[in-house]
C-alpha cells in the first residue's frame, strides 16, 4: 500500500509542476540580468572583444534594456544564435529579447508568434563582389555562384531577384556570416549577398577592403529590429520604449556626456519626462521613473550608438542614410514621450 501512496504523491507532484510562466519583467528583476540573443559574431553589430566583452549596435539595444530595467547596462547575458536557432531560442524562453539583425516580416510577426517592437536599423539586401570581377550591376551575375546564409529572408529575396530577372545562379548555402566570408575570400562563391550593413562588416574584415565592391542594387527592404515573444505586452513595451528613448534622445540632442547638464538647464518638458524629472512614466510599466536617464547616461542616444559601432569612424564606415532622425532627412521617428 505504501507503493500506491508514493505513486499517488508522485503523480500529484508531476501534475502541479507543469511549467508556469510569470511575466518576463518579474523574471528579469528576480534573476538580476537580461538574457539577450545576438549573432554568433558580426563586426559592429554584435561581437565579443579580446576580453570577451560584447559590444556592437545590436548589443547596445540589450544594454539599454538592462539599463532601463535593472539600472545597470552591464547586467546582460548574451546567447549566440544562428539564423536557424534564433526563433526557437526566443520562443522557448531561453532569451528575453532577440537583437540579431532580424528582418521584420508579416509571417514572423504573426505566424511565429513574435512581436517586433521597433526598427533599429533600416537595411536592404545588397551584393558584395571582388572588384577585379569587373561586375557593375547585379543583373550581370548570370551563372554566378552566390553565398547565402540559410534560413534568412535574404535567401528568399535572392531566389526572387534572379527569377524576376530571368538569370541563373548557383546557391552556396552556409550557416554563419563567418563561413560566408571564408567561402567568399577563398573564391568558392563569386558573390555574397546579405543586408548591406552585413556586407560592409564583411568587407571591413578583408585583408584589403578596397578589393571589394558593393553593387548598386538594393533588392529588398530589410527593417531590422529587436523582438520579443507574443503575449507579454509589458515586456514588449519596455523593449520598445528603451529603443524609442535612444531615438528621442538623439532628436533632443541628449547625449551620455551632456545629459546631466541638459536636465538641470533645460525647460523642454519632453526631455524632463524622458529623464524621469517630470511625471510618473516609468512606474506605468513597473520601472523606476529615471529609466530613460539610465539608458542615455549608460548607453547613449541612437546617434552615439550608431557612430560608436558602425559609423564613419569605424571600419564599417556606414552612412546614416535612412537611419538618421526624421528631422535630419532620415526615417527614424519615435512616437512622442508623453
Amino acid at each position: 500500500m505504501k507503493i500506491l501512496r508514493i505513486s499517488a504523491l508522485l503523480a500529484l507532484v508531476t501534475f502541479f509542476s507543469a511549467p508556469a510562466m510569470a511575466g518576463t519583467l518579474e523574471d528579469v528583476q528576480s534573476r538580476g540580468y537580461v538574457k539577450c540573443g545576438v549573432t554568433t559574431g558580426l563586426l559592429g553589430f554584435a561581437a565579443p572583444d579580446d576580453s570577451g566583452k560584447w559590444s556592437g549596435f545590436d548589443v547596445d539595444v540589450c544594454r539599454a534594456v538592462a539599463a532601463a530595467v535593472l539600472g545597470d547596462s552591464s547586467k546582460v547575458e548574451f546567447t549566440t544564435t544562428t539564423g536557424k536557432t534564433r526563433f526557437p531560442t526566443l520562443a522557448s524562453g531561453e532569451i528575453d529579447v532577440l537583437a540579431r539583425n532580424t528582418t521584420w516580416t508579416f509571417s514572423r510577426d504573426v505566424n511565429l508568434g513574435f512581436e517586433f517592437v521597433g526598427v533599429n536599423y533600416y537595411d536592404g539586401q545588397g551584393f558584395l563582389v571582388p572588384s577585379n570581377l569587373g561586375v557593375t550591376s547585379a543583373t550581370q551575375l548570370d551563372g554566378a555562384s552566390v553565398c547565402i546564409q540559410t534560413g534568412t529572408t535574404t535567401e528568399l529575396n535572392l531566389a526572387d531577384f534572379f527569377r524576376v530577372n530571368n538569370i541563373s545562379y548557383e546557391a552556396i548555402p552556409v550557416e554563419t556570416n563567418d563561413e560566408s566570408r571564408e567561402n567568399l575570400f577563398a573564391g568558392r562563391c563569386d558573390v555574397y549577398t546579405t543586408d548591406a550593413s552585413g556586407l560592409a562588416a564583411t568587407a571591413a574584415q578583408a585583408d584589403n577592403p578596397a578589393d571589394w565592391v558593393l553593387l548598386p542594387e538594393i533588392i529588398s527592404k530589410e527593417p531590422l529590429g529587436p523582438l520579443v515573444r507574443h503575449g507579454d505586452h509589458v515586456w514588449g513595451d519596455i523593449v520598445r520604449w528603451s529603443l524609442n528613448t535612444m531615438i528621442i534622445a538623439e532628436e533632443k540632442g541628449l547625449t551620455s556626456s551632456n545629459v546631466d547638464s541638459m536636465v538641470s538647464s533645460t525647460n523642454d518638458p519632453e526631455v524632463l519626462r524622458l529623464t524621469g524629472n517630470e511625471g510618473e512614466y516609468g512606474v506605468m510599466f513597473g520601472l523606476p521613473n529615471d529609466f530613460g536617464y539610465n539608458i542615455i547616461k549608460q548607453v547613449g542616444n541612437y546617434g552615439e550608438v550608431f557612430e560608436r559601432n558602425i559609423g564613419s569612424s569605424t571600419p564599417l564606415a556606414l552612412a546614416r542614410g535612412l537611419n538618421a532622425p526624421w528631422t535630419a532627412g532620415g526615417i527614424l521617428y519615435s512616437p512622442p514621450f508623453r
Binding site: 507543469a18 511549467p19 526563433f87 522557448s92 534560413g151 535567401e155 548555402p173 552556409v174 577563398a186 573564391g187
Partner: protein, 385 residues
C-alpha cells in the same frame, strides 16, 4: 490457482509490475500533454499544412530531381532525401571496399603494408568525423579558382567549385546498348550458377570471372558500334563566372564522400580483421597442406566463415554512416537535415513538424538497411548438414 495473497511472491510481482507500467504510461502521457500544451501556448507547432507552401529558396545540388524555388517544401524534402540516400549508398559501397582492402592488408605478412594500414586505422578512427569533414572541405575549397582550373585533357576541370566533367548524352539507339548490358548480366549470373553446379558435381572448373567480365564488356560494346555509337559527350566550357555544360561534382559532395567513407572504412577494416582472425588457424594450415592457392583459401575457406562474424557489426557501420551523413550540414551538403530539417524549418518556423519528419525518415532508412542486412546475415549463416 490465482488468488489475492500478499504473501505470495508471484502475486506481489504482478502487482508491482502493473504499478510500474502504469506509472510509466502516466509519465509518458504527462510528458506528451505538457509538451503539446506548451507548444500550443507558444505557437510553435501548427500542423503539416506548410508542406504544400512554395519553398521560395533554391537548392543547387539536386542531381536527380529538378527543383526550382516555386516548388513546395515537400519537394525540398524529396530532394534532401535523394541526396541523403545518394551519399549513404555511395559511401557504404566505398567504405566496404576500402574496409575489406585495409583489413586484409593489415593482416599481411608484409611489415610495411600492415603498418601503413595500422597507421591509417588509428588516425582516421580517432579523429571526430566532423573535423575530418571540415578538413576535406577546407582542402577542396583551397584548390585553384575557376579561372585557373586544373585541366585534364580539355574535358575534365578541377577547381575549388568542384570537378567538371563531360556529360554523356544518350542517343535514341542507346536503348539497345542498355538491353545488351542487362542480357549480358543475366547470362553471366546463369553461367556462374551453372559453373558452380558443374564444379560441385563433376569437379570441372571454368574461368568464370574472366568469361563473365568479357561478356559484360564486349557484348554491349559490339551492340554499341552496330547501333551507330549512340553516345555523345558534352564538354564543360568556361563561360562567365562558371563552367557551363557537362556534369559537375561539387566540393561539398566530394568532402562528404571522402570524410564518410574514409572514416567508416577504418572501423570496417577492424571488423574484417576480427572476422578473419576468428577463423581457426588449423583450417588455414590444413588448406595449405592440401596445397590450395592463397586466393582460393581466402575466397572459399576464410571469407565465408569470416562473413558470419563480420556482417552484424557491418550493419551497424552502415547505419552509422547513413546517420553520420546528417553532418553534411556543417559543410553545406544539401541533405535531408540541411535542406528540409534546416532551411525549410527555419523559413516556416515549423521546428517540431520538420524535425519529426526528418527523424521518422532516418528511422525508416535505418530499419530498411537493418531488414535487408538481416536477410543477408541469415543467408550466410552456418547451415547444419
Amino acid at each position: 490457482m490465482f488468488k489475492i495473497d500478499f504473501s505470495d511472491q508471484k502475486f506481489r510481482a504482478i502487482i508491482i509490475q502493473t504499478i510500474v507500467v502504469g506509472l510509466l504510461a502516466y509519465g509518458l502521457y504527462w510528458i506528451v500533454q505538457t509538451t503539446a500544451y506548451n507548444l500550443e501556448k507558444r505557437n510553435i507547432a501548427t500542423g503539416f499544412g506548410f508542406l504544400n507552401d512554395p519553398a521560395g529558396f533554391d537548392i543547387s545540388f539536386s542531381p536527380f530531381i529538378k527543383f526550382v524555388a516555386t516548388d513546395s517544401h515537400f519537394a525540398v524534402y524529396l530532394v534532401g532525401l535523394a541526396n541523403t540516400l545518394l551519399i549513404s549508398v555511395i559511401g557504404c559501397i566505398a567504405a566496404t571496399f576500402m574496409g575489406f582492402f585495409v583489413g586484409i592488408i593489415r593482416l599481411s605478412s608484409n611489415w610495411l603494408l600492415s603498418q601503413i594500414a595500422y597507421v591509417y586505422v588509428e588516425i582516421t578512427r580517432n579523429i571526430p568525423l566532423i573535423l575530418q569533414l571540415l578538413f576535406w572541405y577546407a582542402l577542396l575549397i583551397n584548390l585553384p579558382r575557376v579561372k585557373n582550373s586544373i585541366a585534364i585533357g580539355e574535358t575534365f576541370f578541377l577547381n575549388n567549385r568542384g570537378l567538371n566533367s563531360p556529360q554523356p548524352i544518350f542517343g535514341e539507339n542507346f536503348i539497345y546498348v542498355t538491353v545488351a548490358i542487362v542480357i549480358a548480366i543475366i547470362v553471366s549470373i546463369v553461367f556462374s550458377r551453372w559453373a558452380k553446379r558443374t564444379q560441385e558435381t563433376t569437379g570441372k572448373q571454368y574461368p568464370v570471372v574472366l568469361i563473365n567480365f568479357a561478356s559484360v564488356i564486349f557484348f554491349p560494346l559490339i551492340v554499341y558500334f552496330i547501333s551507330g555509337s549512340p553516345l555523345d559527350f558534352e564538354n564543360p566550357e568556361l563561360k562567365g563566372f562558371n563552367f557551363v555544360g557537362g556534369m559537375k561534382i561539387p566540393p561539398e559532395f566530394v568532402a562528404m564522400f571522402l570524410g564518410l567513407s574514409i572514416y567508416t572504412a577504418s572501423f570496417i577494416s577492424e571488423i574484417v580483421r576480427a572476422g578473419i582472425l576468428s577463423v581457426s588457424k588449423g583450417q588455414i594450415e590444413a588448406a595449405n597442406s592440401l596445397g590450395l592457392r592463397q586466393n582460393v583459401i581466402m575466397n572459399l575457406i576464410i571469407i565465408p566463415q569470416a562473413l558470419r562474424v563480420i556482417v552484424p557489426p557491418l550493419t551497424s557501420q552502415f547505419l552509422n554512416l547513413t546517420k553520420n551523413s546528417s553532418l553534411g550540414i556543417a559543410i553545406g551538403y544539401a541533405d535531408l537535415v540541411h535542406g528540409f530539417g534546416g532551411i525549410s524549418l527555419n523559413q516556416t518556423g515549423q521546428a517540431i513538424e520538420c524535425m519529426a519528419i526528418v527523424m521518422a525518415t532516418y528511422l525508416t532508412i535505418s530499419l530498411t538497411i537493418s531488414f535487408f542486412m538481416n536477410i543477408y546475415n541469415r543467408a550466410i549463416q552456418l547451415e547444419g548438414r
